[in-house]
Structure formats: structure tokens, C-alpha cells
Amino acid sequence: MLRIDRLCAGYAGGTVLHEVSLDVRAGTVQAVVGRNGAGKSTLVHSVAGLVRPYAGRIEIGGVQVAGRQPHRIARSGVGLVPQGRRVFSRLTVAEHLVLAAAPWRAATPGGEGWTVARILELLPRLGNRLRHRGDQLSGGEQQMLAIARALLGQPRLLLLDEPCEGLAPDLAARVRELVGTLARTGLTVLLVEQQLRHAVEVGDRIAVLEYGRVVYDRPVHEVRADPDVLAAMLSVAAVPEPSAPRPVPGLWSDAGH
């Protein structure tokens, strides 16, 4: 479904992604993990067309889309939940839902389409906030709205960039569960997730991005079999042990408190 082949991308002058290749089969969840600044969002944005790749191919359902305008890619059935929510600050929740409903696409591949009613069932909090503007929502509510916006576009390929950031634990769990369910109905998902635990929970494959390169890409059962390899990749062990307070000069050591 989604095939990324030796993709190079970056921002005016600086290359961020170096020959990234991934192959996501239809109906599976590809999780991507990696440290801050590794290039995860750049990867997602390249697929969505928001970052123009320098080289390499991106195929969605067999069609090469690299370099296309983002709205064309979106119309071919790609939904995005961007990092940092990016809801429209001056549109109400209801208006978001109207805009997100894509008139040119009828339904998801796996059965009935997303409707506003179904969304509000999944995310009831939004129902009480229909007349609130985007910038009047709490962080978590904005995240819910971003998810709703992507789903209502009836995507075949869903790009999730840390979709659970800022969601309360129970809701985050429900969203992860939903992602799994959706994949089983035929939706393809590219999921960026910081917490390895959660990536393993929903992902069918786990990839690790480091300085813009894929350094690890295995099916999830292999990861489960040998979790330490992955943990080492993410340098979780590098977390310092608790130690005695080490004051930062000028901060509190000589402060007059």
C-alpha cells in the first residue's frame, strides 16, 4: 500500500532523511520510533506532500506520489494527524467537522464510512464543544479534533504523528485500540510513537529512525522476542541513574532563596 524507496528529504539546504526505505502492506500498522529530531515528522510530512523530497520514490497503492501537491495526495486517500495538532484556531469544532468530511470520497475500504455521529461516539468530549473555536479547546481536546478531522476524510492511508500526545491515559489507550481495529478492517497506518511500549502494542512492524536513517525495521513478533535490542537502539539505558543533585551554575547554587 505504502512503499517508500530510498527517500531523501529535508529543509532548504539541510538533508534530514537519508535514503529511507519502508514497505507498509495494506491493513497493517507500521510504527516508527526514534529520538527527538531523528526525522520522524519529516518522513510523515514527505508522504503527505508537505515536505518535497529531493530524491527517492513514494508509492501509495502503486502510484508514485513524491513531489505531488499535498492536496492531490490527500484526495488520493491520505489522512494526517499532524504533530502539535494544528487545528484551525478560528474555526469552531462543528466547522472543522464540516470541512473534514470529504465530499469526494464515499467510504473507507473496510466497510461503513466515518460520520460525525460515529466520531462523536468515539470522542464524546467533542460533542459538548461543538461551538467552541479551535483555540479555546484544551490540549487534549485539540488532539481529539485533529484525529476526528483525519478520520472524517475517509482515508485509505492514515498518517499518525504522535496521536496520543496530550491525551489522558484512558483515552490514549482507546485511540490505540481504535488504530488496531481500523488496520484490521483494511486501513493502512503509519504511526509515529515515542513510547516504545505503546508502539509494540499496536504496531505490526516497528522501525527505528536515527539521524534520518532507518536503523532497524522488524515485525513486531521479533521485537517481542528480543526487546533488549530495540531498547538499546533507543538508548533507553542511557538514562542516567538517579544521583546526587548537581547544581547548575548561576541557577540555584548561588541563588539567594
Partner: protein, 336 residues
Amino acid sequence: MRRGAVRALRRGVAAMVVAALVLAPWTVDDYTVALLARTLALGLVAVSVALLTGVAGLPTLGQTAPYAAGAYASAVVGSHLSDVGLVHLAVAAAAGAALAAVTVPLVVSARGVVLLMITLAVGELAVTVVGRWRSVTGGTDGLAGVAASRPLWGLPVLATDRARYLYTLVVVAALVGVVLLVLRTRVGLLLRAGRDDEARLRAGGHRVAVHVAGVHVAAGAVAGAAGSLLVVAQQFVSPADFGFDTSALLLLGVVIGGTASVGGALVGAALVVAARDWLFGVLPGQAPLVLGLAFVAAVYLLPDGGRRPPVRGRLLPTVPARRPAPESPTPTGVRA
């Protein structure tokens, strides 16, 4: 490495421009020298516009007000009290600063287009006052016959175009130097931070209103000093020098020169004003058409609207392994 090269290149260009400016009066005719002197005065106003618009993110169309205050103060002092240029400059800067200070309550909390409209109103009101206060300003026809001044006590009066130009050049260079030096201190840092996100600055404990008021008064003083130079350069002031079109051209010149860059503003505004003045002479009747097309072309020709990298001196930051891009996304330079 490339960073060093770019900086060297920029220094080289700047040095060449300065050398050309110093040598100009001996190489070109009186008309051009007179034109240059006027242009330098306007360039100094542009510096004050850039200070507000680009560095502090407070776009303005009203710098003609302190500019006019400085010009008239300088002309009045020149014809009644003293013929010493330094005195004129001081008085003019004080007048500009005072006028800016008076308008501070209007501008402290406004941002973006709203601020643009408020400053536009201030500029227009200033011109109206100038046009009607006939006993001091000579009314809409202006104040002619301003006596020539001498730069300092004991020096000869500025009688030729060349002398007037050199005086203007020295003053502009000195004032721009001061502005650049001050911007290298934490003042510049705070102004740029305020342009990016003011609420964050406030949350950090900074008195944003004080910064805004301060930069307004400082810009007013610079514009006032420029007013004094205008009087020297053309020995005449009238409300027409401070109309809306002047404000608009200054702002456009600053945009062409790269909003946040003080030197760029000087060059950009100088180019725009010189182009206009020159076109009115050589292409009678067609000047607006050509100028308009030139603006359109400028937007396309200057790769990024002439914007310099938003962070001075750090064109290409070196980062281990993770390489960020050298170009910024879109600092708008305008507070929302």
C-alpha cells in the same frame, strides 16, 4: 567555512559601498550629490522604520511624524537660535523622541495591521498640524529660506552641495553605527524575542510594554535627527515631505532591504527613494508606472524579498550529525 566566506563577502560589499559614498562628491555632478544627501536623510528615517518594523516587529507608517517634528524643530532653531548643526541634531532628535513619547499610549498595546493604521493616523495628524500651524511651520507651502548651518562651532557653514552631503554622510554613518552597536547588546535580543512571541517574553518576566515604549522613543529620536539632515540637505521643509506616500515608500524600501536588517533598510529605502526622484526627472509622467513595475520585479528578483537570514552572523549554524536547514521557515516580522 561558508559562513566565514559569506560574512567576508558582506563586509566587502559594505566596505565598497562606504568607499563609493565617501568618494561620490568628487566623481559625480552636483545634482547627484544633492540627490544623495536627501536620500541619505530618508535612509536614516528608514533605519528607524526598520528598527520598529523589522527588529521589533512593530510595523509603522508613522515615522514621518517624528521626522517632521525633527525637521521643523531644526529649521526653527536654525533660523532663530543657533546655526550649529550639532545643536540642530540634538534638538531635532529630542523633538522626535518627545513626539514619539507622546504617542506611546496609542501604540503600546497595538500590534500588526492595527498598529499600522494607528501610526498612519499619527502621521496624517502630524502633517495636518504642520499644515495648519502657519506661524511656526509656514503652512502647507512650507518654510523656505532656512539659513545654512555649520557642523560645529568654529567650522565654516555648509555652502556647497558637497559640504552638505559630507556632513549628512558623517552623521548618518555615526547614528547607524550607534544603532547597530546597541542592537548587538541584549536590547537587540529582547526586541527580536518580542517580535517572535510576546506572551512568552511576558511569561518570562520581561516588561514588554517598556521595551515597546523604549524602541518607539529611540526610533523617534533617530527619525528626528534625520529630519534635521533633511533641512540641511534641501534648505526647505514643507508638509509634502512627510505625506503618506513618503511613509509608504519608506516601508516598501525597508521591505526590499530586508525588514530586520538595519543596513539593508538604509540601502533599500535609498534605492526606492533615489529611483523615484530620478525617475521623476528622466521619465516625466511615466515614473509611477516604472516604479510600480520595479516593485513587482523586486519581489521576484530578490530571492527572498531581500530578507537576510533572521539571525545575524549565523548564516549556517554547525550542528553535529543532525543538520537543520539554514533557512528559516517564515518569520513574518510582524506581530500578529
